[in-house]
Amino acid sequence: MKALLTAIVAALLLFVPAGSAHAQFGGLERTEVKEGYQLKPGAVQILVFRPDVHVGEQTTGGMNEPNAEWTQTAKAHIMAALEQEHLARGSQLVMVTQEDGEMGELVADYTALFGTVANSVLNHKMVRSNRLPTKRDAFDWTLGEDAARLKALGGDYGLFFYTYDSYGSTGRKIIQGLALVLGGGFVPSGVHIGYAGLVDLDTGDLVWLNVDTSMGGDIRTAEGAQKRVAQLMEEFPVRAEGVVVPEGTVTFDPPLPPDGPVDDEPVVASPTAAGDGQ
């Protein structure tokens, strides 16, 4: 996660001079969705891993002073807003609290892997000047099929997100104003970075990733957090129309042609079948 943040900050710095193509302050803002991807129909359970939220104050000189109270408030507001947002979309969030034992280790491993993969998307696709030719049209990153082991925690998707906010202090804002008036150049006041990604736990594929280096909404307030969550969830995959499973999400038949050639293994959304790696 740290590495991704560093990359985002680096990207931010990179983009400041060439910013005209982007929104207001020229920050990187990109969303990638796996082509044609839709969430499966019926009840959708999304695992949410320990939210990585950091809120602090940007000092006059530009350092970040972490603030525990703001961070805790923001975390609560964001989680509430996130839950609301997903309820409106008809999906249910499942908070993952395991930190110990084998499952805790698995969660830590996949959180780290997600960070590395997301970093790779950022570097080799989202940053245009650094885009790999083979990734020009493709968004085909995956955490591997073993990610299905996470389904034992009670969800079919994994949502990872991160926000970093450093609110400009009074001193910083004055410096910003003075520098503009006195011709000292543009001094940015405040840093507001966020990203969110969704992993389909049946395949391990990264199906959606949204990165924004100049996010809006003051997450220290409930309304601001709602605005922020709406921005974070931009272009989030919608649910496929079709067969709605009446009850019990343990098994359901995917809407596949009965006798058609199927390359993939049949999708069986039961934790036991998914856990069997062979």
Partner: protein, 405 residues
């Protein structure tokens, strides 16, 4: 000349906040505010709360780190040394994490998280030396050095921001000099705190009955190792590194100051303990693994020096473990003559009768590279008999001329 005067005036500005900081530090001592090592201590102001919160989050991730050495025996031992050094009342405030990283380092976070690198464990010669490092880090913690450094940096970076929009612009050279002076003063503040922690470690060592000369010995060993590395790599020794932008005082300076402080604290250290045997016993099984990590650094000069000092400059000090390590070191470098030397060290190691089975593997691979296939294959087969489940067994079987089953 005028510019120079302005620079001087500007520098004077920063001297005063620094002095003010010192006054504040003195007041802090006079004030009976609770120490972070006190039982049930809670962070006091917003900044301290914020730093603790961030560090607590980092600690959660640290607990899942793949680099964490979880061996309960080794953890208990290091914790025991800390408690012996600073006392049972204060030591519970620190939470020690042993990290498997071959560099020499240790660090302390404001919330009580102490990181100790395995490369440090490899380099300490006795328990008193480990105690010196733990006492140093604990002083950083108790005197709230990270908090104070943050405040110091905040104050100075704020100042630089204000100066950048000051209505009267300094001439370019003066502005540059001013920036250097401010940034330099942050590092100077950091060095002052290192000196304070060094002094603290001597106090703790003396109180605990450890030989306080151990603190200085840590730095003379490290300095000599830096020299050996520099000689091999043909650059200037890191031990002489210092100057305006150094976070720590020069190694040679620390060595001297620590020796003086130790002399003053305990004039006759003949009764003080070093507990070298206890230290070696506690490291026990970890030894070959730490050696492997060190060899992977590809620092031939430094490692050669390190092994020689660990052998104590005595031919009898070359135990099977150390000879194995030296063989691996030469085999890994693979320059002309190195395989012959390596094979020789492996043979000596095997002759001691107490060496890791990997010595046969090293001998076999070295002999194969020397073109001595029959003996090389025989050594590899000996290794495979001793370690049939080795990770590289399949590969070595092929090399040993055995058919794959």
């Amino acid at each position: 000349m005028k510019q120079f005067a302005i620079t001087l005036a500007a520098s004077a500005l920063f001297a005063s906040p620094l002095a003010a900081q010192d006054v504040a530090a003195v007041e802090q001592v006079a004030d009976p505010a609770p120490l972070p090592s006190a039982h049930g201590y809670e962070p006091q102001d917003d900044l301290e709360k914020g730093l603790w919160y961030e560090m607590d989050e980092a600690e959660r991730r640290l607990k899942q780190s793949k680099f964490l050495i979880e061996d309960p025996a080794l953890n208990d031992y290091v914790r025991g040394v800390l408690c012996r050094t600073v006392g049972e009342d204060r030591c519970p405030a620190a939470r020690i994490y042993l990290m498997r990283t071959p560099q020499f380092n240790a660090s302390m976070a404001p919330n009580g998280v102490m990181l100790v690198y395995s490369g440090l464990l490899l380099r300490m010669r006795d328990e008193a030396q480990l105690a010196a490092v733990l006492g140093h880090e604990f002083t950083h913690f108790e005197k709230q050095h990270s908090l104070r450094l943050f405040r110091n940096m905040r104050k100075k970076s704020d100042l630089m921001a204000w100066l950048s929009v000051a209505p009267v612009r300094l001439p370019y050279a003066a502005a540059m000099a001013t920036q250097f002076a401010v940034i330099g003063s942050v590092f100077s503040f950091s060095r002052d705190m290192e000196r304070e922690a060094d002094a603290g470690s001597i106090k703790e060592l003396a109180q605990a009955g450890y030989d306080p000369r151990a603190a200085s010995a840590v730095w003379s060993q490290l300095g000599a190792e830096m020299d050996a590395t520099a000689k091999e790599r043909r650059h200037r020794s890191n031990k002489k590194r210092g100057g305006l932008f150094a976070t720590h005082p020069r190694t040679t300076d620390r060595m001297g100051t620590l020796a003086q402080l130790a002399e003053a604290a305990v004039p006759d250290a003949s009764a003080a303990e070093t507990r070298a045997a206890e230290y070696r016993a506690a490291l026990g099984d970890w030894w070959p693994q730490l050696i492997d990590d060190q060899i992977a650094l590809q620092d031939f000069g430094g490692t050669e020096y390190l092994l020689a000092t660990l052998a104590g400059g005595d031919p009898a000090g070359w135990t099977g473990d150390l000879l194995y390590a030296r063989g691996e070191l030469y085999r890994a470098r693979a320059k002309e003559g190195d395989f012959a030397q390596a094979a020789d060290f492996f043979r000596q190691a095997i002759a001691t009768g107490d060496t890791p089975p990997e010595s046969w593997r090293g001998l076999g691979l070295a002999l194969m590279r020397l073109g001595n296939k029959p003996e090389g294959q025989e050594a590899l087969r000996s290794y495979l008999t001793l370690r049939p489940q080795a990770a590289d067994a399949a590969l070595l079987r092929t090399m040993a001329g055995e058919t794959l089953s």
